[in-house]
Symmetry: C2
Subunit: 127 residues, 2 copies
């Protein structure tokens, strides 16, 4: 299996970080990883906000977070342990991650009328 790629701190771009967190599922996953004290496996997120996420999609979401430099993933036995690279990132872009997470929580608290936070509809597959 291909080794996991993690960008070095100085190659992390603001565009990649914002892109990774502009997806409602990914920002929810990331917020939970940051909030938890211990590392999180991918499969903890097979449901995100009452919505089932196919595991292939979940895998790609984690890859996106990892390659944007937001999380550090490590294979431990059969599962993956994910932790945030928050302290490191805060060194490169001071205050960025806290501000984004704060904004995310502000939005969650204001409980949008009918879950209209999604940026777009997911691709639908033909049967």
């Amino acid at each position: 299996m291909r080794p996991l790629f993690h960008p070095p701190l100085e190659h992390i771009t603001i565009e990649a970080v914002l892109h990774a967190l502009s997806d409602p599922v990914r920002v929810a996953i990331y917020a939970q990883i940051v909030a938890s004290s211990c590392s999180q496996s991918c499969s903890k997120f097979l449901k995100v906000k009452q919505k089932a996420i196919p595991k292939s999609t979940l895998s790609r979401h984690f890859k996106a977070l990892r390659e944007a430099g937001l999380i550090q993933s490590e294979r431990r036995g059969v599962e993956m342990h994910n932790i945030s690279r928050c302290p490191e990132l805060n060194n490169r872009f001071p205050g960025l991650i806290p501000a984004i997470l704060n904004a995310y929580h502000v939005q969650m608290k204001s409980k949008m009328p009918a879950g209209n936070a999604a940026k777009r509809k997911p691709a639908r597959r033909a049967k």
Copy 2:
């Protein structure tokens, strides 16, 4: 011509804001609009960082910024006047925009080796 849509403050989502600013051209345009004291027309940006931007693409970039709630656009005669909604936005998501702009400037100052900040290659058109 269709009237310009501007989302009310409370409908602005963190996902839409991050998505709008995850494009290297849009974040550059937005940074310049925020930095300038007077309103900017779209056509001021037909070149962004030495790169020519087709005006149809530029038009869509401004629409994206507008509909994400980042800028306020007003038609004045033949041109459009664009100003940032920064103060308003800072009320909904405190510290978010300053942190993003700061990160953008940090990255610009560190002058990446060969302009590799782009999130992806642009679509190439067949001849």
